[in-house]
Symmetry: D2
Subunit: 333 residues, 4 copies
């Protein structure tokens, strides 16, 4: 039973069905009818005019946003353990042409506005030091926490005041929306977010993320970078169709709700073992090496996060028996 | 009836079926069972040990190869009308970190070894001029011609002699194999090719190309660049499964055979109007503006290549009535 | 006797004197009194408010300008034989992060506004083709011709209309000013030039060029790029002092006048042999291989430009006996 | 009286004299007699065959070395406060095409081999994390400490074992040689250093550093990058001549000896106030804000390093009255 990563989950049946339905002759690249519906669909969802681009990976989505927000010589403030810093093979430097990630600390891989402000303050305003041009936060965080609107807004305030672009890595944005109960609009542009990587792949998609631009003037540059980085698929309708299927009847919310609920089931099994509160679909648990081995012996698969800590990730399809079984096993440790 | 581009074609039903079959829990990225079978499958096909990587676009496949073959400060010799020069938004410069495309002329977008040798010769060997480090040829060419083994080998000879890497853009490699009747091995590594972009998307795939490395030592760098450029899909098995489906029972050859046959049907309709011989699935036809309008009025869709010339591209699913109808219409002009 | 390149000339004694005078304790980088005088000095010269930066090579000066005018994904229109295309080792791609040089033909390495307009027109306005963002012209050209104000203005008009930045490579700007008799202001910003590489090294400097920005808002980015590319010298006053010495009492004009006069002396020796009119300090002469050998046997040193053509370059210090001797030798061929 | 930076010092009279002597017609770029003498001069000094390049800034020298040692996708291990990290505007990312600086801590801006080994160990060996390819250490450190041969060798051992290139930023290499009393060869290639930025500008040069390659096979790439980054000066002889003047009769050692001695004079004035031992020409002193103001009121100029700490840097020309006066003032605090 796999609690290793939501990346490993299957795509939702409705997503496959949508691909099959789009599998007919149509314009190449993004001129097709599905791709052309994205702007409208997301503008509705976000209650404002946005530009939306399909992209096939989260890394590319993040980096297209960053390339639009930060010049080659700029800096991007992010958490020390952000995905863009630790798990993207230097893709932000590649896409931006050499921008520097400037690291900020914080528990649960969350950045507080106070720490962020202090970091910005500490950078000498001269030509010798790289000057920050953008901020990137992750919601839900890699550590399984969710930023609330007020927290995003405090960071958005700093961005505005300092002339920095604000990007949100929302590989698990759905989980954050479900967790906070706040609206997509409040969690993003109303709080100062300029660009959102809106993840679908971890949440039931096959290979489709959406880059949402709340500043439509960035679209021209993003369109060029998407092509230039080899991310303009010739049958882009296959990605657009996935995304539209996820939006239809709020499938994206249903899936995230299921994943979050599964995580809560695990969290409730051993509240004393949690490293952080569980606010999305990731559970960080303090267990000894022997206990971890014990769980593995029972057929559970997960990630050793650090000595004495494991990470359990629940997918959209796991709110059921396997999770209940793991919860019992944890409780029994 | 669309003769605009093979990019616009649907995916083959077997490809969709393979995706559905792979839609279950497995390791993320490329650790899954389908991805792990690629090296073996292509090593069989090419009769030598190769490394094979799935990639979701032709642009990315080409540029990953070029980044592995050419340093940031090097030059890449290619045809003046090569896809990498005219239609990839500068992606080769982006992936390589600034390498320069050095253009070579030739009819039908084909490079002769004589012209290539003369170009190499003309470059001053000093620090002021960019020095070539790689050659990229396209087979079948963008102009619808196929390189034969002897032609590739003559270019391979120059590459070897001058210490240049040799890349083949095989977005329509299948069409070239069918057209020449020569073996994949002869057309590539036995003729000096170091890396092949092996296209499937135009030939019945959904969004999968394969990068084949005949020099396995390049694999480590390609693996890093694939991640770094945002092309390591988390559910990579969905791409691997497509490619394996295309290889099974030679579906890739069947599809290319059908596309080429359709193109021959068009070519035979008006041999005197051909700009080049038709050696793959592209037909360049000399027609007046009035004639083009006439064809369009009959419901045919195609590309105005240049004044007095149109391009017709036939897909894997078009060897049938629509093509016959177009052939008649052409003959009747 | 060397007519090989004005690069090989010595620095003018007044320039060395200025360096010695600046050789005392002062602020590092460009905070010193000499550096701080540059903006004012060039604003006077150009009759408008400019920002001026010292840079130690022409290649860097050109590329700092191009990086400020063109994004990584843009194109730069220039002559096929421009220095940035043929003699800078790909530096424009390096500084801009991958911009593409888009080549324009024209005799004497001069671009006509008609050819330029046609080239701009020919570029498909889509995401697949690189879109031009800047133009770079060279005055005096590498072929020894000078653009007049009216010619620059016609190009400036195209730049304006198409939203392109306009850079002038003025490695031999002084020679063009002397040759045309037109004002620095007319030849540049009044004709639409945004940034000028104002050369001093070939004209009596030791290692100092000036980058003049007619759009002061570019200065912040240029300042960063100068540091980032390793061109912010710690004792920058040594460069500023050279430039100020060159401007003082119009030494730059005197030197260019002498170099141009020497070139005219050579041109007058054999008007029938000239490949182009001589409008600066470069003379392209049609001579046979035997004649070239004959001149070399008499101790003259020069560059074989192409079969049947030699290039003679006259420096600021050569309007005298050596030139007269060469003129006689040419006349006697 | 300036104790702000050795960058602000004048050039040594012998250096100016050498420039004047080289100010005659000669081959452009680096084909001249002075430039051609560099390899030999440094091969003698380092007791092995090296390749030596003049470069006009320390930033460029460091980054040319790093670009030769680290691919665009690699990491460079360096101290958290290294000049390349904090004071070069992202130049390492620019020159390498996006390499990542990986930071290591240590007092006095010195890296211990233990900390370095632990950092290397902590990096996951997969395609998601940037893999280190080079190490850069600074000798003497920015904090005024000198690495001894044994310390460099321990780091060289790690480099060798892990397949990493080893670069030494020797902007103050002369001060380290004088301070340790160890030979240039022992401190560099015999301890595993592949490339050395050998600084002259801070030590009496005007604008000349030398990049020393102990692996001559790197020279071809460095030569290209020097041109490509705009650092191939047309009158390169003016840089070569400076360096040769500095090497002649060990002027570089005499100057560093003087600077170090001046720093010792200051250190001896208040041993209890030192933040680190003084092993080169930089003195970090704990003083209150009032005391700092007091020193400034007496006409001394210096850098506020951090709250409660000032930095004093002594130049080659300061081992005399001004330093004695400052020492007295410090003692009197």
């Amino acid at each position: 039973m796999r609690f290793f990563s939501d990346n490993a989950a299957p795509a939702h049946p409705k997503v496959l069905k949508a691909i099959a339905a789009a599998n007919r002759i149509d314009t190449a690249y993004d001129g097709d009818e599905w791709s052309r519906r994205l702007d409208g669909a997301f503008s509705n969802l976000f209650e404002t005019q946005v530009r939306a681009f399909w992209v096939s990976t989260g890394t590319a989505t993040n980096c297209l946003a960053l390339a639009a927000l930060c010049p080659p010589y700029g800096g991007i403030l992010c958490h020390r353990d952000a995905h863009i810093e630790v798990d993207e093979a230097g893709a932000p430097a590649f896409f931006t042409g050499g921008a520097k990630l400037m690291l900020v600390d914080g528990p649960g891989e969350k950045i507080s506005s106070e720490t962020l402000a202090a970091t910005v303050e500490s950078i000498r305003k001269d030509v010798h030091q790289v000057q920050p041009k953008a901020i990137s936060i992750t919601n839900a965080t890699y550590g399984g926490l969710a930023y609330r609107t007020s927290e995003v807004a405090a960071i958005g305030e700093i961005a505005k005041r300092s002339g920095l672009g604000l990007h949100m890595d929302g590989a698990r944005f759905a989980n954050a929306v479900v967790s906070t109960g706040e609206s997509p609009a409040d969690l993003t542009w109303r709080s100062g977010v300029d660009a959102l990587s809106f993840g679908f792949t971890k949440n039931g998609g096959l290979n489709a993320e959406a880059l949402i631009l709340f500043r439509p003037e960035l679209a021209e540059e993003v369109a060029v970078y998407r092509k230039r980085s080899g991310h303009l698929l010739s049958k882009g309708r296959m990605l657009a169709a996935q995304i539209l299927a996820m939006l239809e009847d709020d499938l994206w919310l249903d899936n995230a709700r299921a994943a979050n609920a599964a995580a809560q089931t695990l969290a409730n099994a051993a509240p004393g073992r949690l490293s952080h509160p569980v606010e999305a679909n990731q559970v960080f648990l303090k267990v000894t090496a022997d206990e971890a081995a014990d769980l593995r012996a029972q057929g559970f698969d997960f990630y050793d996060w650090k000595p004495g800590e494991i990470r359990l990730v629940t997918g959209w399809d796991q709110n059921g028996p396997a999770t209940d079984k793991l919860a019992s096993a944890i409780a029994a440790l």
